[in-house]
């Protein structure tokens, strides 16, 4: 049965990759040609990709008989799932299709990274070390998935805001930018999304600390991953303070949303591939 499931997992992985790629391209084309059919196609492909992503994760859960939260390959797929879940919610709730052009490249590039950089041995379900056998791992990674996913959305919104308010295009009636919602709505939404993601990031750090305390007897050891999650937290805390106390809205807030997500990506990727530490398996 496992072989069949493995085949399903692999084929669904490539289906997801293709669907994310096509939906990204269609979102771009839709911005230019403004055909509603194309927009609907883009959304449909996103949903197909999301479904494929879900099947990959479920198949992996059945094969490994544990949640798919234990190595780089599984984390990336879970991260993509988080981005898509928050994105699809945002697209339907706020009718924000244009956001897809900015968000979809992220899961697509993450999956490309798997294809380019991860060998088959890194992609199969592996035995997990005793330290990873903890229910806190589940809380830790699930909250990270949603939080990082939401930060990806705020990044997309930040980029849209910056493009929308570029000098000379604010009132442009035609062109790509006209598909974007009003600048203040983008700004407001980015704040809301960060308002959702920041408490979750706090929970990611706290659950990680509780888990580390159980596993290693140290709730905080200034491991590079921990330190970078703290730096990310400080950037978004700075965003909230600047906005609430100094009225930092618009461009400066958008830049901070973009910068914050760069820190998220570095925490997720850079730390593992560039710096040493306890999170070597993640």
């Amino acid at each position: 049965m496992n072989q069949g499931l493995q085949g399903l997992e692999i084929s669904m992985f490539y289906l997801t990759l293709v669907a994310y790629f096509l939906s990204m391209v269609l979102y771009w084309v839709w911005l230019g040609v403004k055909s509603n059919i194309l927009g609907k196609f883009a959304t449909a492909l996103t949903i197909i990709g999301f479904a494929g992503n879900t099947v990959v994760l479920v198949a992996r859960t059945v094969i490994a008989q544990r949640l798919p939260l234990s190595n780089g390959y599984e984390f990336i797929l879970t991260f993509c799932w988080g981005i898509l879940a928050v994105y699809l919610f945002a697209e339907f709730r706020y009718k924000l299709r244009a956001l897809g052009s900015f968000v979809m490249p992220i899961p697509f590039l993450l999956l490309v990274f798997i294809v380019m950089k991860m060998g088959p041995d890194e992609r199969v379900a592996q035995a997990i070390p005793p330290a990873l056998k903890s229910q806190w791992l589940t809380f830790h990674v699930v909250t990270a998935m949603l939080s990082y996913g939401a930060f990806a959305i705020s990044f997309g919104l930040g980029l849209m805001y910056l493009l929308k308010t570029r000098q000379g295009v604010t009132n442009q009636k035609d062109g790509l930018i006209s598909r974007f919602p009003a600048a203040e709505i983008l700004d407001d939404l980015a704040y809301k999304v960060i308002g959702f993601a920041l408490p979750l990031l706090t929970l990611v750090i706290i659950t990680g600390a509780i888990w580390a305390d159980y596993a290693w007897g140290t709730y905080w050891s200034w491991d590079p991953k921990e330190t970078w999650s703290l730096i990310t937290w400080i950037i978004y805390t700075g965003y909230v303070h600047a906005r609430l106390m100094y009225g930092w809205k618009g461009k400066r807030a958008a830049w901070m949303a973009v910068l914050g997500f760069v820190a998220v990506i570095f925490t997720f990727f850079g730390v593992n591939y560039l710096l040493p530490g306890l999170h070597s398996y993640a």
């Binding site: 959702f196 007897g217 303070h241």
Partner: protein
């Protein structure tokens, strides 16, 4: 905030009550801790840390997180947060628990404000009923010819910033408590041996408790599919020669006794032997290819070169070395129960295999405080984003003119919508007809 500080205490207070200072300290913390992840740290990579330029070492960047200046930075941040919180305490308290109806038009929120005309009696009844129905707590005040009111909802939300800031200070206090009143160390012990807590390898603090830790068993267990299950250690606490507690621990499942926690950190295979000399028997526990054992009063060393066989039929390879010789002077193989004579001085008997358990031992009275701080931090953030306080206040004048305004946290867009809905209800009209206010529908249209 004191805008014209005079004395140096005022100046200091003014400096620490500034949020800019807080943000600058947070930024400095982020920057320096980030540098600490890029430069090799002595604790993680001592060799690489030694190799970086001397200036980084002198400034402490090869051990950032334990330097005095990094701790000072966190300390100053705590002082800043405390001063800011104290500064705001009475304001927040009054806003939450002693709201006052507006005395004049200036006290009514300016940004979202509207005037409604109608019958005085009707407007007052409607305003009171609608606000109460919407869950607002309303306080009214008659003053001469007019009636003024203040109504609040989610008023505990005013405390969000206070809670977040104090939580951070509590967190750091927990860490300091652990630093001064706790200890941390490791022990590696074979099944069957007892180690006094005072004899563990300490890396931080001092041990005040006096009890022994007896390792009853240490096992490396595997699942039927061949994957490692976990390392398990069964231990007993020995106090005054009596066993006072016992338990089994494994990775992720520590064991705690009188505030001292034992964590399963590593495991190694080893051997249990006995040595007979002049009729006395002494136990020997040696790790496979680990440190050799020196026979008392001799310059002979026993080294375990390999473990063969199975736990049921154990077989070992041993070597005897003499100080100063790099080659063994005796070697051989022993099965369980077999003995060998060591240079005519000792008789060594192989008893069986013995697991060696590696434990991390820690006492940290600050952990509970850290969890309390973490919980409060989360609570404060949740309040700040999901329990936004709403305030509506207004004055109704005798001639039937109601001026009311709304203020909330900081999200104007959403508050506008809510204010629009409130006005519609009071007026009994459709808010779309009102210029200058945005409705839900309009917001959606703008998004589209």
């Amino acid at each position: 905030m004191n805008e014209n500080p005079k004395s140096w205490t005022d100046k200091l207070w003014y400096l620490f009550s500034s949020m800019k200072m807080g943000l600058a300290l947070l930024g400095a913390t982020a920057l320096t801790s980030g540098i600490g992840t890029i430069l090799p740290q002595t604790e993680l990579e001592p060799d690489r840390a030694e190799a970086v330029s001397r200036i980084w070492q002198v400034l402490g960047f090869t051990h950032v997180y334990s330097t005095a200046w990094f701790r000072l930075l966190l300390g100053l941040l705590c002082v800043n947060l405390l001063v800011c919180s104290m500064q705001r305490f009475s304001g927040t308290y009054n806003r939450t628990f002693k709201p006052r109806p507006p005395q004049n038009g200036n006290d009514i929120p300016q940004k979202l404000r509207q005037e409604i005309k109608g019958s005085t009696e009707n407007l007052r009844l409607k305003t009171e009923k609608i606000l109460r129905d919407r869950g607002f707590r309303l306080i009214g005040e008659e003053s001469g010819e007019s009636w003024s009111f203040v109504a609040q909802k989610h008023h505990l939300g005013y405390w969000s910033a206070f809670i977040v800031h104090i939580a951070f200070v509590i967190l750091i206090s927990g860490a300091i408590l652990g630093m001064f009143f706790g200890f941390k160390g490791t022990m590696m012990a074979a099944a069957g041996t007892t180690t006094a807590l005072k004899n563990i390898n300490l890396s931080k603090g001092t041990v005040t408790q006096d009890f022994g830790v007896k390792v009853n068993s240490a096992e490396d267990r595997f699942l039927p599919n061949g994957e490692r299950d976990n390392w398990y250690t069964n231990l007993s606490i020995i106090e005054n020669g009596r066993e006072t507690a016992s338990g089994t621990l494994s990775v992720n499942h520590p064991f705690t006794y009188k505030g001292v926690t034992f964590y399963q950190a590593s495991f190694d295979h080893g051997v249990h032997l006995t040595a007979d000399v002049t009729g006395q028997t002494m136990p020997i526990y040696l790790r496979n290819q680990g440190r050799p054992f020196r026979f008392p009063n001799t310059d002979l060393y026993l080294f375990i070169g390999g473990m063969m066989g199975s736990p049921q039929q154990p077989v070992i390879l041993f070597q005897i070395y003499k100080a100063g010789n790099s080659q063994p002077i005796q070697s051989g193989q022993l099965s369980a129960g077999e003995s060998t004579n060591v240079q005519g001085q000792y008789k060594v008997t192989m008893e069986g295999y013995a697991g060696f358990t590696g434990l991390q031992v820690k006492k940290d009275p600050g952990v509970t405080v850290v969890w309390l701080g973490s919980g409060l931090l989360l609570l404060g953030l949740m309040l700040s984003f999901y329990w936004r306080p709403l305030l509506v206040s207004g004055i109704l004048e005798q001639e039937g003119r109601l001026t009311l305004g709304m203020a909330s946290g900081k999200i104007i867009g959403q508050t506008e919508t809510e204010f629009g809905k409130l006005l519609s209800e009071i007026e009994g009209t459709n808010s779309k007809e009102r210029a200058g206010l945005t409705t839900d529908l309009e917001l959606k249209e703008r998004v589209l």
